[in-house]
């Protein structure tokens, strides 16, 4: 590379002294482009994008606090389990009382039986659900289910607000 630089330098100086502007420019261009360009600091592109308000890769939904996700998921699981337990209890009561016979109770029993068999197939969950529903039957259970559903909704709203806040702070 240095012999090449030396030759290029010689040619440029000769052409300049001879007044050959076109060739002198060509050699000067070769000389200057043979040298390394300015080094760019690490992370320059990221800083530019951040300053421009463009979201930087890697700071996406992972930036939302994990406890919010866990709380929302936990509320969904608990309220879903309780709702299923109460529904099973009501369905069993209604099936036994026979009040739905005229209104297509066979369908309800059939669905209940299907539900029973399905739940039994996962290892006795049906018996656990009956036991829970027996213990929880009553207005208190309904209130508990409503409370869990309400807390799920509140968790969802909080999650939505945090995500919106994260989005607006990235664009600031």
């Amino acid at each position: 590379m240095n012999r090449k630089l030396d030759k290029t330098l010689n040619r440029w100086l000769r052409f300049e002294r001879a007044g050959d502007g076109r060739r002198a420019e060509r050699e000067l261009h070769r000389l200057l482009t043979a040298l390394p360009p300015a080094s760019v600091p690490a992370g320059f592109a990221d800083r530019v994008l951040a300053a421009s308000g463009v979201p930087v890769r890697g700071r996406s939904r992972r930036g939302v606090r994990p406890w919010i996700w866990r709380t929302a998921f936990g509320c969904w699981v608990v309220s879903g389990f309780l709702a299923a337990a109460v529904a099973v209890g009501f369905a069993a009561d209604l099936a036994r009382s026979g009040q739905l016979v005229a209104l297509g109770s066979k369908l309800v029993v059939g669905l209940g039986r299907l539900g029973t068999e399905t739940l039994a197939a996962v290892g006795g969950l049906w018996r656990a659900a009956e036991a829970v529903s027996a213990a929880l039957s009553g207005p208190a259970t309904l209130l508990l289910v409503l409370a869990c559903a309400l807390s799920s909704l509140m968790a969802l709203r909080a999650l939505h607000s945090v995500m919106a806040l994260e989005g607006s702070s990235r664009h600031a």
Partner: protein, 194 residues
């Protein structure tokens, strides 16, 4: 095959972060090189280069796609650098104060991949001499030299970037070349055999 500037701009305007990033990575080195050549101060040059891209992206929606994006970007960079010079009132450095140990000039010196330590030193000396000679030019001449002889822009593009008549650009380049030749010759860099 690399996407064209126009395609990247269109994707960026649709919100593609990758397109913005590609534009930055494509022009970060030339923009930084131009600004560094003008202001001759590393930290300031990095700030101005970042400012250039921020301004460009802020005005991207108004960019006329029939224009050359690089010229438009260089124009923003050049104006930012000249404004910074005016604010700081930096004048042309006397040649005797510029040497190879100045941090800003080190960016333009050859790397270690050369034939031998002796030739590496010689290349480094030549690079330092060239960088010092360019640094000693007037700001408008430095801009023209960087755009023409490093970035390879045509005269018309340089005239657009510098907002000067074509004849003035040619005059600047002619005078800059002469001055560089005189400076290097005075520093002992003579053509072999002559």
């Amino acid at each position: 095959m690399a996407a064209s500037d126009q395609r990247l701009i269109a994707e960026a305007l649709r919100g593609s972060e990758d397109a913005y990033r590609a534009l930055v990575e494509r022009y970060q080195r030339p923009v930084l090189g131009l600004v560094l050549r003008i202001v001759r101060e590393r930290g300031l040059a990095e700030d101005l280069a970042q400012e250039t891209f921020v301004k460009a992206f802020g005005a991207l929606a108004t960019f006329q796609v029939e224009r050359k994006f690089s010229s438009w970007l260089f124009k923003i960079a050049h104006n930012a650098a000249i404004d910074a010079l005016r604010r700081r009132r930096l004048d042309t450095l006397p040649l005797e104060t510029a040497d190879a140990d100045r941090p800003d000039l080190l960016d333009f010196l050859p790397g270690p991949a050369t034939d031998s330590p002796a030739t590496a030193l010689e290349a480094r000396d030549l690079g330092a001499a060239l960088a010092a000679a360019i640094a000693a030019l007037k700001p408008e001449h430095r801009s023209a030299v960087e755009l023409r002889f490093v970035q390879g822009l045509a005269y018309e593009e340089i005239a657009d970037v510098l907002d000067l008549p074509l004849g003035t650009v040619k005059t600047h380049l002619h005078r800059a070349r002469k001055k560089l030749m005189e400076t290097l010759s005075a520093g002992g860099w003579q053509p072999a055999g002559g």
